[in-house]
Structure formats: C-alpha cells, structure tokens
C-alpha cells in the first residue's frame, strides 16, 4: 500500500533525505515495493550490468553473473560463488600488536592483542574496506551470512528466481 518514488529511495540510500522525511518512512509500515526499488537504485550506482540479487554490504553485492551467482565488489571485482565465504578471497590486514592497533586508536585505550585481534577485509582491486571483524587470535575467519536466496525470493518477495541451468 505504502510506496515511495524511486528518487526518494535513492536519497534514502544515499543518506541525503531530510531527517523528518526519513523518520516518517521509518515510522510508517514498510513500503511493499521497497526491495526492488532499492536494488534498482543500487544497480544504477554500479558500473557493471550483472543484475544485483541482494546487497550484502555498503559496496558488496550478490549478483547474477552469467550462470553463476557471485559476491561482487562495487568496482566489479568478483569474490566467487556467493555460498563461499568471500572474505577468504579478500586482502586482509590483521592488527594483532599494540603498534598496529595504535594506528587506528591513537588517543584511547587498546584491546589486549593477546585476547583479541582486528581483521580488515579489503577488495584486492579497488582497496575498499568491506568488513571488519574482531575475534580471538586463532579463531577462524567468520562466515557472516549465507543467504537462502531462493527462499527469500520465493517466500518473501513472491517472485521466484530463475533456476540456474547448471547444477552446482
């Protein structure tokens, strides 16, 4: 029932919508067609044509690339099949010493590097910082999220995805 123009959604995504209007949208019932407008806005922002299926970060998307569904950076760099942890293909900076932690916390207390390290995941092509995680040293790289794309499109959006031609 509720619906906003694509321009309004574009401003909302860009964070340029005036606050009172943003709050009205937040307080109202969710607009039915938000997801597709949102994706359309993002699609115009990226420089490539592969259809976006699901945004997974500010600059990171799952998209349909030929017969594959891959995790892709805004710059076009592909991290491979979306069901695999994209972080494993990223460039990683690990801050596990007082010296390296001090670089990002110049004026405040530091976590104890014996108990916690900070890992930054960066696109090897454009250098965008996609994700940061804090974990105990030795803990495997966290796989944040493996979406049930088919289920989401079929049950929640009411618009089932085209089945992939090839099996996995």
């Amino acid at each position: 029932m509720t619906s906003y123009s694509k321009e309004v959604i574009a401003d909302l995504v860009a964070g340029t919508l005036p606050w009172p209007q943003t709050r009205r949208i937040m307080s109202a019932y969710k607009d039915d067609d938000r997801f597709f407008k949102y994706v359309a806005v993002l699609q115009e922002r990226v420089g490539w044509k592969d259809p976006i299926l699901l945004p997974v970060g500010d600059h990171l998307f799952i998209c349909q690339s030929g017969d594959e569904r891959v995790t892709k950076c805004e710059c076009g760099h592909s991290f491979g099949d979306y069901r695999r942890n994209w972080k494993l293909k990223a460039a990683i900076i690990v801050r596990d010493s007082e010296e390296t932690l001090r670089e990002i916390y110049p004026n405040s207390d530091l976590p104890d590097p014996d108990w916690m390290e900070i890992r930054e995941f960066i696109c090897p092509q454009c250098g965008t910082l996609h994700e940061v995680e804090a974990a105990a040293p030795g803990y495997p790289i966290v796989h944040d999220f493996e979406p049930d794309l088919e289920g989401f499109y079929r049950d929640w959006l009411g618009k089932p995805l085209e089945p992939l031609n090839k099996g996995d």
């Binding site: 606050w19 937040m26 109202a28 019932y29």
Partner: protein, 713 residues
C-alpha cells in the same frame, strides 16, 4: 442574541496551527465568532480575514469594529514557527567551562518527546532537535559559583574577552550567557555581559546580549539555557508578527496597543520583555474559559477537553486549583516557563488512518492531514483517509454546511478512497469500517480522560466535562461515555472557546526566583520569623520589578493588584505545589505558620488529605509574585428557560449512521437553540464551525446561560 445594538469592545483572536478563531464581545457580554485559515508567513492576513468574518457576523465593518474596541488580544504562532523553521537569529553562547557540550547533549527526553509510543520504543528514530547554537559558536570560560552562591573559582576575564571577540568576528546577532548557579548569584553572568557589551561597543557592532538570570532566574540549567536561547533566537520575528497585527489594527482605527496571552494565563502587551513566555498560549485560553464557566455553573472541578484536527488537549481544574507545569516542552526543548498544565494525546479529526495490508492492524495517525491538503473530502489534494472523511461518509458532517458552506465536502470521493484503502483490506462494509475508526479515536480520548481523572485522586462524578474545539462536540458522545461525569457541557461557540477564554484573562505579570529555604518540622519561633523575613524580602524585590513593568505598559498604579506565591513541597519530595500566599508580608512566626497551613491545605486539595506529611519539614523552592490589572470580560447572558420543544431550531432530517445502522436524524441549527430546549437523539446539531452529534436516546438540553448539556441515555 439576535438583536444586538451595541458594538464589540473586545476582540479575542487565537491563531492555531490550522485555523485562526476570532471572538467579538460587547459590554453586555454578547459575542460572535469568526474563523479563517492561519497564514503563518504573515499572520496579519489570517488575523484580518478572521476578524472580518466575525465582523460580518456582527454586521459591522472592520473600520467600525477596530475603532470601537478597547482591547485587541492576539495569541499567535510567530515565535513557534520561527523556532520550528529554524529561521531565528544567529546566536553565540558563553557558558561555564566544561559545559560547552550541554547544548549538544540536551536532555535525553528531548530526543523522543512528542513521539508515538511505538517510536519511543524504537531508538533508531530518536533524534535530538537541531541545536539553536552550533558547538563552534559555544565558548566555555573558567568560573564557578556553587549552589550556595559562593565564588569557588573567580571569573577569568581574559577568556571572556577572547570569546566575545571570536563571536563578534563570527558575526553573531546575539550573545547568550548562561553559567551554572547564576540563579543564586548572577555576579559572573553580569560581569560577562559587561565585558561582551564593551567588546561589542569597541568593535562598533550591533549585537544583543542576553543573560539567563534576567530571562529566568530559576534552577535547572538545561531549561534555563533553552529559555534564554529561545528568547534570543525567536523573539525578533515573533515580535515583528505581533507588530504586524498591531499595525493592521491601527490602520482600521484601533487606538491602543495589542495584547497577547502568557502561558500562565494572563495578558501582556506585545512589548513584553520575555516574549518566550507567550509561546505556549493557544490552548491556555481553554483553561481560562473553563474556569470562567465553572464559576457560572457553580462547579470548581472541571475537565476541559479540546479536540481539533491534530490533538486532544485536556486541562484539569481540581476544586478551583489549576496545575502549573514549570518545565514544559516547546518543539522538544525543555523550557523554564510556568505554564498551565495540559495533557495532550494525538487524536483529532484530521488523523490519517492506515491499515497494514499484512497484519490488518489499524492505526490512527499520529500524522494529521492538517488544513493543507486536509482530508480527502475537502478535495484540496488530500489522498489519505482521515477521521473527518469517516464523519462525512457516515452523514455526521453536513457536506453543504462545513464552515458555513465555504467548503463543500466531496463525500463520494472520500467514500471511494476509504473503501479502497481501509474497508476492503479489513473485509468489512464501508460504514462499519468508518464507524470502527471513529470508535477507536473516541476510545483513545475516553481512555486519556479516565487516566487524567484518576491522576487527580477524585471521583469522576465530581467533575464537569467541558468539550470544545472544532471537532470536540462531533466526538463528544464517544469520548465521554461511561465515565460518569457530573455534567457534560458544550457551547454554541465551541470552535472559538479558546479565543473566548483568552478574553476572560486579566493583564498579568508573573515574576519568580528559585530559592532554597528548608524549614524543619520543629522549627522554633525565632527560626520561623527569620524565614518569614527572608521570604518577605524576596517578595518586595519581585513586587517592585513586576509593578514597574506594568506601569511602563501604561497601567495606573492604583489598578494593579499583587499576590505573592510560593512553590512548596515537603522536604525531600520531587514536585512542588503552587501556594497563593495568604499574606503579602510575613512579620512573625505565626504569619509563617499561616503560610505553611495554606500549603498543607492546597496539598490536601490537589492530592489527598491523608497524604500530608509535615514531619518531613517544608521546602520553599521558588518565590514569586503575580501582578494583575482588570479588563472588561464577556458576560454570558442569563435568560429565562422557555418551552422544551426545539421546533424553532429544527431544519430538516438527514440519514446518519450511528451505532451500526442508519437513522433518520433530526437536524437543528445550534445558534437557534433557546434556553429550555431539549433535543433527543438521534439528532445532529449544526453550527457553521462545529457539529454536535447526539446519539440515539441521548439528550441535550439548553440551560439559562445557553450552554448545551449532554446526557447519556
């Protein structure tokens, strides 16, 4: 009321967010009302249009109207709009070092006040109002005065010079000064102001300087800060709007100065030195009017309820006592202005109705369609169904008599949209859905009234409900059903009741200062006498200040009456009650005891007599003084009761949907109802500016003052 021969002597005008209401009163208390849309950009236009509407009703020209009246009183929205649109002066702030971020942090509740319950719970929607001074134009200076008024750290004057120079270079239009505990000892604020004025003069600039202790010398620095900032920020435009009103009044022959209403219920000239005290004045008129009507009908426990397009305001007078709210909110800023207490919920005829397609949950508002675009039936571009549309669909509003026929309601259009957006989703008929929506609104208001009454600790059967506002009578039946009021009253002039209330006010000043006087439960005579002397000293200073201001406004000294008051509590409590002092000077221990006894009497009235607790001792947190001068007031005309058959006012029959089915409802013209008349529902009593719906078997009778009493079957 039809054979008026005299001309009006008082014009009362109340500009609300949507409509500007006018009431004209003559020396015998006859009155007529007028209405027009509010024009926020230039309020004088709406003022004049509304006055003209009323003058037409009276049958005189604007020239005759303005040249004949003694008092023009206007309560407007100029300052509030300046604040809401953030178009006030460019400010700088000098404060105690260490408190510079106070302006950004504000009070926590300022981030969510006025929000719906759902939004309060969702912190993601919380948002502080934009500060009136940016952080970069806030300068801290080293100084400290403690709560006893002693200087702990001296003022570092070189820092003040530097801050003032910086603000002058930043081209501010006003400098505000607020230091902690300046209400106890303003020495540092005064010295900072001196230095600022020196620097301003040296730079040859034109910059105003405001200090918090002059604006409001009371405790709690966040509210004191907001008060001084808003005064500095919004008064110039607010005063300009008021000046515009005065100019057009004079153009049409008005001989005196225009008056405006103070938030604590008095009148003052538009040159009032603390204009922010007039910001919350609109709804206050209703409480004043209620107190006036209460005297007439001989009941001093009243609930007044004002339903307009957006909100439902409730004021309480408990056994003659009105509650004073000391820190009201204004555009989500906590202010330090004594205000007649009002409870408000979002409930009005303009509320937008929504049905969640997924859960079929119905919600009312909190958004209102306002007057522009307004409800769908206004056909001014509104696309969302509102309560007013439901009223139109159900035949409760007359499509050809809204605002006296100035707006023709497009019922079919409203019906179509309502069916599509609400009824169909709910899977019920249009009428059933529309009545359900109205029931929800009335249930909200009904619950709010019950809550307000139970907060008083007094049985509802002691209270008389006064219902007014443009949509008050329309939803009166549902709002009041089942509560068991002693009496329920509405008015022929319901739509302009707040404006009417304004005209019952006197000229007034209210000065006060925070104090810290703790009187032990077992204080000796000597101690009591010393406390009394201290109180009297403060009162004398305040009397002089208030009387000087009123004399400067042109009031004769011998016409000014002064009443001192105290804000008192049992020591250790968190809330004060306002006590009118029985004496103007306390010379002995017995005098002091009389004041304490008065406090206990008031406390027992407002709360309950068993809740008194003198063993804790007494604290005086604020001393103040109210100075008043009389003004001509409207008098409601008392007439003998006639016969009960209202045939003279009958004007037809209309189909109206009430209680699940269509009825043939009798239509009456409200202005033609005479004392003694009795109307039995189903009926609809119409007035150009309001509509009273009488449910089946309910009764309305008109008393000798021409007040309409509603009785549930």
């Amino acid at each position: 009321m039809d054979q008026i021969t005299t001309n009006p002597i008082v014009i009362g005008i109340d500009a609300g967010g949507t409509m500007t209401d006018t009431i004209l009163v003559d020396q015998d208390g006859h009155f007529k009302i007028g209405k027009s849309a509010t024009t926020p950009k230039n309020e004088a236009e709406g003022f004049l249009a509304s006055a003209e509407d009323a003058a037409d009703a009276w049958g005189i020209s604007l020239q005759d109207l303005f040249s004949g009246v003694n008092v023009v009183l206007y309560s407007g929205t100029g300052m509030l709009n300046t604040l809401l649109s953030r178009t006030g002066r460019k400010l700088g702030l000098i404060t105690t070092k260490g408190l510079e971020d106070m302006i950004l942090m504000g009070r926590g509740l300022q981030a969510w006040a006025d929000y719906s319950y759902a939004d309060r719970l969702h912190a993601v929607t919380h948002h502080h109002p934009d500060p009136l001074v940016p952080r970069r134009r806030t300068h801290g200076v080293t100084e400290r005065i403690d709560q006893f008024g002693d200087v702990v750290l001296p003022l570092y004057e070189q820092e003040v010079h530097a801050a003032a120079k910086k603000l002058i270079a930043d081209k501010v239009e006003a400098i505000c000064i607020m230091t902690v505990f300046s209400h106890v000892n303003p020495a540092h604020e005064k010295r900072i102001a001196e230095i600022c004025r020196e620097e301003v003069a040296a730079a040859g600039a034109d910059i105003l300087v405001y200090t918090s202790h002059e604006v409001r010398p009371v405790i709690r620095e966040q509210s004191r800060l907001n008060s001084v900032l808003i005064e500095a920020y919004a008064t110039s435009r607010g005063r300009k709007q008021l000046k515009g009103i005065e100019d057009v009044s004079k153009k049409y022959g008005f001989k005196y100065g225009v008056q405006t209403l103070l938030s604590f219920g008095g009148l003052t000239s538009i040159n009032h030195p603390r204009l922010h005290e007039t910001m919350i004045s609109g709804p206050i008129g209703g409480i004043l009017g209620a107190a006036y009507v209460g005297k007439l009908i001989g009941n001093d426990s009243l609930i007044c309820s004002d339903m307009g397009g957006t909100s439902f305001d409730m004021g309480v007078i408990t056994r003659g006592q009105t509650r004073i709210e000391n820190e009201p909110l204004m555009d989500r800023f906590k202010l330090n202005v004594p205000t007649l207490h009002l409870d408000t919920i979002g409930a009005g005829a303009g509320m937008i109705l929504k049905v969640d397609p997924l859960t079929r949950k119905v919600s009312l508002g909190p958004e209102s369609a306002g007057s522009d675009p307004g409800p769908i039936c206004f056909a001014k571009g509104g696309t969302e169904p509102t309560i007013a549309d439901c009223d139109a669909i159900l035949g409760r509003l007359n499509p050809h008599y809204f605002l006296g026929g100035k707006v023709v309601l497009q019922v079919e259009k409203a019906r179509k949209v309502f069916e599509e957006k609400c009824a169909r989703l709910l899977g019920v008929g249009v009428e059933e859905a529309a009545e359900g929506m109205i029931d929800m609104l009335e249930a909200d208001a009904n619950n709010a009234l019950r809550r307000v009454i139970s907060g008083q600790g007094i049985h509802p059967s002691e209270f008389t409900l006064l219902s007014y506002g443009g949509s008050g009578p329309l939803h009166l039946a549902g709002c009041s059903r089942g509560i068991g009021f002693k009496d329920i009253i509405t008015f022929q002039f319901a739509a302009a009741f707040s404006a009417f209330g304004c005209t019952t006010a006197d000229f007034m000043r209210r000065h006060s200062v925070s104090t810290q006087i703790d009187i032990g439960a077992g204080a000796s005579d000597d101690e009591l006498q010393a406390f009394g002397a201290k109180v009297t000293g403060v009162w004398n200073d305040l009397t002089k200040a208030a009387v000087d201001e009123m004399v400067a406004d042109g009031h004769a000294l011998d016409k000014i009456k002064t009443v001192p008051f105290l804000m008192m509590r049992y020591t250790g409590q968190l809330e004060d009650v306002e006590v009118m002092a029985p004496l103007s000077a306390l010379r002995s221990a017995d005098d002091m005891r009389k004041v304490i006894a008065e406090f206990e009497a008031v406390y027992a009235k407002v709360n309950h007599r068993v809740s008194r607790y003198g063993e804790a001792g007494f604290s005086i947190t604020e001393l103040g003084l109210i100075a008043t001068a009389d003004k001509v007031k409207p008098v409601l005309l008392k007439r003998a009761l006639g016969k009960s058959d209202p045939a003279a006012a009958h004007k037809g029959v209309r189909e109206a949907y009430i209680g699940g089915r269509w009825h043939k409802a009798n239509l009456y013209e409200m202005n033609l109802l005479q004392p003694g008349h009795e109307v039995i529902g189903p009926a609809i009593i119409e007035h150009p500016a309001t509509t009273l719906v009488v449910h089946p078997q309910d009764r309305v009778h008109v008393d000798e003052w021409t007040l309409l009493h509603y009785t549930h079957a």
